[in-house]
Amino acid sequence: TVGAVAVDTEGNIACATSTGGMLNKMVGRVGDTPCIGSGGYADNNIGAVSTTGHGETIMKVTLARLILFNMEKGQSVEAASDSGLALMKSRVDGLGGVITVDPQGHWAARFSSLQMAWAAAQSDTLHYGLYTGE
């Protein structure tokens, strides 16, 4: 799965997510990616999220919208992302990762899996990582 979230110079927010799915999936299986609120969500008033990971568990907690709900309650992009991933782990034993932005341009790349390739560009600076803590 691959994805992107962005805030432009006018403060508008968008997300996109794309996937081939899950290795050796059953024919006809559709995961979280095309499901609004699960594979991604964007709202100029709150922020945007693109998700990756175990699709069935992401759908059970509607992970993207859950993280934005956490942000609506006042959590930072980082805390909201971690809270969403923690709930997915505790309630449905799911692992995955998310990228999150808010309208102010704060961003986070968080994951509960062993690794997630990510990169962020802001203020002419490129940040990137693959393992936890990078």
Binding site: A4, N12, S18, T19, T33, G39, S50, T52, Q115, M116
Partner: protein, 166 residues
């Protein structure tokens, strides 16, 4: 407003020999999308640009290099959403399209629907003038190797997907 773009290349396992390809791929996609934002482009243009580049990069399992289903075939899904209007578009189980994200954007912009699937999505793509590509052009040696390895380990399609991340 300081523009920002963040991209990911998936939470699945990346073997060490492919880690550099993954990191360079996400950096390249983020850099390209950031250039669009700096030039005054929209956030939607930026995310579609970034994901299109990742779909075209065989290091990732979307677009070219998609993981294969139990039959060794490709079925891809994609979603876009515009935070200004809450407009969204999605496609699922598409096979002959190089860039499902661009097709999802057309679903958002040209239809009143949220998601088109399988043959319906293909018909819509043809109506929009999106060129079809052979499925074989989206299958890499690496994805075929993983499919065969997984088939050998688990013949049961339900069991073999347990614990795997898309």
């Amino acid at each position: 407003m300081l523009p920002v773009v963040v991209v990911h290349g998936g939470a699945g396992f990346v073997p060490r020999q492919r880690s550099e390809l993954s990191v360079s791929g996400v950096c390249s996609a983020a850099g390209s999308a950031y250039g669009i934002l700096k030039g005054g482009g929209s956030s939607m243009d930026a995310v579609v640009n970034a994901v299109t580049l990742l779909e075209n990069n065989p290091a990732f399992n979307a677009g070219i290099g998609s993981v294969l289903n139990v039959r060794g075939d490709i079925e891809m899904d994609a979603l876009v959403m515009d935070g200004k209007t809450l407009a969204s578009g999605a496609v699922s189980a598409v096979r002959n399209i190089a860039n499902p994200t661009q097709l999802a954007r057309l679903v958002m912009e040209k239809t009143s629907h949220a998601c088109l699937t399988a043959e319906g999505a293909s018909q819509f793509a043809r109506a929009m003038g999106i060129p079809e590509v052979p499925v074989e052009s989206l299958i890499t040696d690496y994805s075929r190797m993983r499919w065969q390895k997984n088939l050998a380990a688990d013949a049961n399609p339900v069991e073999c997907q347990m614990g795997k991340m898309g």
